[in-house]
């Protein structure tokens, strides 16, 4: 199946275009997805922050929140570069983890 190389190249090309996922929303003044607001967003929408949400919202501190590189500014250029970089990191780790799981899935018991 020689298409895997071509497909990985396709993934790499897609990664170069991910800044569209940052640029397009900004261009149209759109925020994040419905239902993905942060605590401030909820407060702006409803006037309060539900108690349970307050408790759970910070339960996990991801290392690269919002697909940004720590220290990057809010400018479109840096956000785009950060998005590509975190995209690359994410794709590599995701593919790597899936690869490891696949090895486990291929193990036949007793063989």
């Amino acid at each position: 199946m020689m298409t895997t190389k071509k497909l990985w190249i396709g993934i790499a090309v897609l990664l170069l275009f991910v800044p569209l996922g940052v640029i397009l929303p900004r261009l149209f003044g759109a925020e994040g997805a419905w239902g993905e607001w942060g605590l401030d967003g909820i407060r702006n929408l409803t006037g309060f922050v539900p108690e349970g949400m307050k408790r759970l919202a910070g339960i996990w501190k991801p290392p690269l929140p919002g697909y940004g590189v720590p220290g990057q500014s809010a400018g479109l250029c840096e956000a785009s570069v950060g998005y590509v970089l975190t995209g690359i990191i994410g794709v590599c780790i995701t593919a790597g983890l899936m690869y490891v799981l696949t090895k486990l899935l291929l193990k036949k018991n007793g063989s």
């Binding site: 993934i11 897609l14 996922g21 419905w34 539900p50 759970l56 919002g66 899936m98």
Partner: protein, 222 residues
Amino acid sequence: MHIPDGYLGPATYGSMFAMAVPFWAIASWKLNRTLKAKQAPYLALGAAFSFVIMMFNIPVLGGTSGHATGATLIAILIGPWAAIISVSVALFIQALLFGDGGITALGANCFNMAIVGGLSGYGVYRLLAAGSDVKSKRRWIAAAVAGYISLNASALITAVQFGLQPMLERSPDGIPLYAPFPLSIALPAMALEHLFLFGFIEALVTALVVQYFQKNDPDMLA
């Protein structure tokens, strides 16, 4: 469509984990029995594709944005069980490393996007493409329709999970403890944007890649 931490109360996020686990188990068991070594690279590709396609946020009227998931496409190419696992892996990394989707909500997000998305997309595709030639127009049309329906199924179930929170999880005086919007708001908000925009994007992505395989590697579609 990634539900963050804090939107679902324990009753919901707990049951969604409970519902996801059997599907993860069945998918793993199925793959263990049927996966061939030469198919293995496609799982990693599928997981990677799902991850990257979810980074393309498309803005929609009303000021929000959304994305495709690739679950149907992956199911068409390597089967629904592989799709469940690979999209779940992408969602797991998105939550863990980038905070895209909550950790408590991971069961729900995997159930909605990977499981419901993968299975419904696969089912619709097989139904509509049945008996057609691998390179036929009907195949990619079936793929497009399957992608559209599957993403809307995911969106619908996500909206229901959101919309039930004010009723399921509230303080003694009726104040919502988690997601504050009822079904009457959550359902139209999510359903309309997926019916009128994001569903078509998923359909387009699915159809285009299926067409690519029809031309370059039709065996994958057999």
